[in-house]
C-alpha cells in the first residue's frame, strides 16, 4: 500500500481499490524492490545514451558536458572503419544465422532421427552438445591448436597431398568468416538441434504411416512429413534469432582476430571496446552501441511483422 501510485496506471481487469491494494501489500512491496533493482541496472544505463549526443567528459558528468548534436553519429558514418565493421558484423551474423543456427541443426536432427540404433542416437546426441557448455576461451584455444601450422587439419591436408605448404588459417583474411562460422557450428550445432529433435519426436506417427501407404519412401517422408511439421518451429526460431544477428559478433572475433585479419574480423562491439574503453571516447563508443541496439530492435520489429503476416504467430 505504501507507494502504489508510483506505478503506471493499470488497465488490468481487476478493479483497483484500497482494499485490494492493502491485501496485496506484500506483493507490491516486493515488486517495488524488484522494479528499483531493474531501473538501476537496466533502465539507468539507457539514460547514458545522452552521452552519444554530447562531448562527454568524465569530470563534467552527464549534466555539464557540452551537447554536440549528431556530430558523433556523423563521424561514425564518415569513418571507413565503422562502415567496414558494420559489414563484418552483419555478414558474420547472417552466416551464423543460416548455417550453425538453422540449416545444419535441422539436417543433423533429421539424420539423427533416422538412426536405427537408439543407443547410438543417444551417444551421438550427448557428444554433440557437450561443446555448448565450454567457454569461447576454450573453444578458440582448441581451434587455434587444430588450425595451426602443425595442427591436425594442416597435417591431414599435407598427408593426403591436397596442399603443399601448410595453410596459415589465421593470417588469411579470406578464410576468417568461414572459421568463425565453423567455430559456431562446432560449438552450437548439437545444442541448436535439441529443439528440432523434440519437435520431430512430437510429430504424429500416423502421418508417417499415411505417407507410407501413399507410397512415400524415406526421402518422401522427410520431405512431405518431417520438414513441413517442423515449419512453425523453424520459422519462429529463425525470426527470434534474427534479432541477435548483430549480437553474435564479439567473443569469437575478439579471441580469434589478429592484426593480419583486422579488416574482416572487427565487429561493432570490438569497435565500441576500442573507442570507448581503450581510447576513452565514451561518446563515440556509446553512439556505436546505440546504432547496434536500434538496428537490432528494427530487425526484431520486422521479424515480428513477418511472423504475423505468415500466420505463424507473433513472437511477443
Amino acid at each position: 500500500m505504501s507507494k502504489p501510485e508510483e506505478k503506471k496506471k493499470s488497465k488490468s481487469k481487476v478493479e483497483i481499490n484500497r482494499k485490494i491494494l492493502y491485501r496485496q501489500r506484500v506483493l507490491i512491496i516486493i515488486s517495488i524492490i524488484f522494479v528499483a533493482y531493474g531501473l538501476l541496472f537496466y533502465y539507468v544505463p539507457l539514460g547514458g545514451w545522452i552521452m552519444a549526443f554530447q562531448n562527454y567528459k568524465p569530470k563534467d558528468g552527464l549534466l555539464h558536458s557540452t551537447f554536440v548534436g549528431l556530430d558523433k553519429f556523423k563521424f561514425l558514418f564518415s569513418d571507413a572503419t565503422f562502415l567496414r565493421v558494420i559489414r563484418n558484423t552483419f555478414c558474420m551474423g547472417l552466416l551464423n544465422l543460416i548455417f550453425p543456427t538453422t540449416l545444419f541443426p535441422i539436417a543433423f536432427a533429421v539424420l539423427l532421427n533416422e538412426m536405427r540404433s537408439l543407443g547410438g542416437k543417444r551417444v551421438v546426441q550427448t557428444i554433440s552438445y557437450l561443446p555448448h557448455f565450454l567457454s569461447w576461451i576454450i573453444v578458440t584455444g582448441i581451434l587455434h591448436d587444430s588450425l595451426s601450422n602443425s595442427g591436425i587439419v594442416n597435417e591431414l591436408l599435407l598427408k593426403f597431398h591436397i596442399i603443399k605448404d601448410p595453410i596459415g588459417f589465421f593470417s588469411t583474411p579470406k578464410l576468417f568468416w568461414g572459421i568463425v562460422c565453423f567455430a559456431h557450428l562446432w560449438k552450437e550445432m548439437g545444442w541448436n538441434a535439441i529443439i528440432y529433435l523434440s519437435a520431430i519426436s512430437s510429430i504424429d506417427p500416423n502421418l508417417y504411416e499415411a505417407a507410407a501407404i501413399d507410397g512415400a519412401g524415406r526421402w518422401g517422408k522427410i520431405w512431405y512429413v518431417t520438414l513441413p511439421s517442423l515449419r512453425p518451429t523453424i520459422i519462429v526460431l529463425l525470426l527470434m534469432n534474427m534479432g541477435f544477428i548483430l549480437n553474435a559478433g564479439f567473443e569469437v572475433q575478439y579471441l580469434l582476430g589478429n592484426g593480419l585479419v583486422k579488416n574482416v574480423s572487427d565487429t561493432i562491439d570490438i569497435y565500441v571496446l576500442t573507442w570507448g574503453v581503450s581510447q576513452n571516447d565514451y561518446s563515440l563508443g556509446t553512439a556505436a552501441g546505440i546504432f547496434k541496439s536500434v538496428v537490432s530492435i528494427v530487425i526484431i520489429m520486422i521479424a515480428n511483422a513477418i511472423a504475423k503476416k505468415t500466420g505463424e504467430g507473433r513472437l511477443f
Partner: protein, 329 residues
C-alpha cells in the same frame, strides 16, 4: 493384509511381465518388418548416416582429446608434433606447473565462488520474481512482466553500463560478477511459465489454511518447481563459470578478482603471440621442459573438468529447460 498386498504385488508383477512381453513382441515384429523390407538403398542410407554421425562425433571429440593428450605430454616433445590421442612422453609436469601458478589458483577460487554465490542469488531472485508475476490475482502483474520483458530486448550497451558500475563502485570488486546478473528476464519467464502450469488449487488450499506469502512460496510452490529450478541453475552456473569478458572489462586491474577463464585467456594470447615461432620455448631457468602450449593445454583441461564431470548428471535438465523456454509466449 500383508498377503493381499503381496498378492497384489504378484498380480502387478505378472501384468507388468505380460506387458513387457507384448512390447517385446511388438518390437520384434517391427524389427522383422524393417529387416524384411531392408533394401539395398536402406543399407546404403544407414551406412552413410552412421558415417556422418561418427564424423560429427570425431570432429567434436578429437580436438578435446588431443588437448588432453598434449596436456600429459612432455612440452618440448609435443612441439615436434605427432601427438594425437595418446601422450608420447607422459608427464605430470604441465599440471604441477599450472597448479603451482598463484594467479591461476586464485582465479579458480574466484570462479568457484562466483559460480556458487551467483547461482544461488540468481535462483532466489528469479524464483521470487517469477512467483509474483505468476500470481493471477496480482493487480500489477502484467505491468511487472512487461517491465522485465523490455530488459530482454533493450539495454544501455557496454559504455553506459561500465560507467554505471564505476559510479556504483562495483568495478574492482567481486560483486560486479553476481549483483548485476541476479535477474534475467528470460530465466524469470521460464520459471513463470512453469509455475503457471501448476494447479491454482494448491495455493488456494494453502491460503485457506492460513499460509502467508513466503510460506506458500517456500513450502508449497518451490518444492514442485525443482525441475525448472535445476534447469535455470544449470544455465546460470555454466554462464558464470564460462564468463570472462566481465573480468576483462570491470576487474582487469583488480588482479585478486580475476577469474580462471580470464587467466586462461592470458595464457592463450601469450601462446598466439608466439605463433610465428612455435619452436621450443622452454621457460628459461626452470630447467623443466615446459612450453606455453603444454601449460595452456593443462589449464584448458582443468577449466573444462568441472563441466565435463558434472555433465552426465546435468544432462537430463537441458531438454526440459529448452522445451519450457520454447513454449513461452
Amino acid at each position: 493384509m500383508k498377503e493381499t498386498k503381496e498378492n497384489k504385488g504378484q498380480e502387478n508383477g505378472i501384468s507388468l511381465d505380460t506387458s513387457v512381453r507384448k512390447d517385446k513382441i511388438k518390437v520384434a515384429t517391427i524389427n522383422e518388418k524393417r529387416h524384411g523390407k531392408l533394401k539395398v538403398g536402406d543399407i546404403i542410407f544407414y551406412t552413410c548416416n552412421a558415417i556422418i554421425m561418427i564424423a560429427v562425433c570425431v570432429i567434436t571429440l578429437y580436438p578435446v582429446l588431443n588437448t588432453l593428450a598434449i596436456s600429459f605430454n612432455d612440452g618440448v616433445d609435443a612441439v615436434r608434433g605427432g601427438v594425437h590421442l595418446i601422450p608420447r612422453m607422459f608427464t605430470w609436469t604441465n599440471y604441477t606447473t599450472v597448479l603451482g601458478k598463484k594467479d591461476i589458483m586464485q582465479g579458480a577460487l574466484i570462479s568457484v565462488l562466483r559460480t556458487v554465490i551467483g547461482t544461488l542469488l540468481a535462483l532466489a531472485a528469479n524464483a521470487l520474481l517469477a512467483f509474483i508475476v505468476a500470481q493471477r490475482k496480482f493487480v500489477f502483474r502484467s505491468q511487472l512482466a512487461l517491465f522485465w520483458v523490455i530488459t530482454m530486448y533493450v539495454n544501455g550497451g557496454m559504455i553506459p553500463t561500465l560507467l554505471l558500475y564505476q559510479k556504483l563502485h562495483l568495478t574492482g570488486t567481486f560483486w560486479v560478477y553476481v549483483i548485476p546478473a541476479m535477474i534475467s528476464g528470460f530465466n524469470m519467464l521460464v520459471m513463470r511459465t512453469y509455475m503457471e502450469g501448476l494447479p491454482d488449487s494448491l495455493q488456494e488450499a494453502a491460503e485457506i489454511d492460513g499460509a502467508g506469502f513466503f510460506t506458500i512460496f517456500l513450502k508449497v510452490i518451490s518444492p514442485l518447481c525443482k525441475p525448472v529450478y535445476a534447469t535455470v541453475a544449470l544455465f546460470v552456473a555454466v554462464g558464470q563459470w564460462n564468463s570472462w569478458f566481465d573480468t576483462m572489462l570491470y576487474n582487469r586491474f583488480a588482479t585478486q578478482y580475476t577469474t580462471l577463464q580470464y587467466e586462461l585467456m592470458k595464457l592463450l594470447s601469450s601462446v598466439t603471440s608466439l605463433k610465428g615461432s612455435t619452436g621450443a620455448n622452454t621457460t628459461p631457468g626452470s630447467g623443466v621442459n615446459i612450453t606455453p602450449i603444454s601449460v595452456r593445454s593443462a589449464a584448458t583441461i582443468l577449466t573444462m573438468a568441472p563441466i565435463v564431470m558434472l555433465y552426465p548428471f546435468l544432462q537430463r535438465y537441458f531438454v526440459t529447460g529448452l522445451t519450457i523456454g520454447g513454449v513461452k509466449e
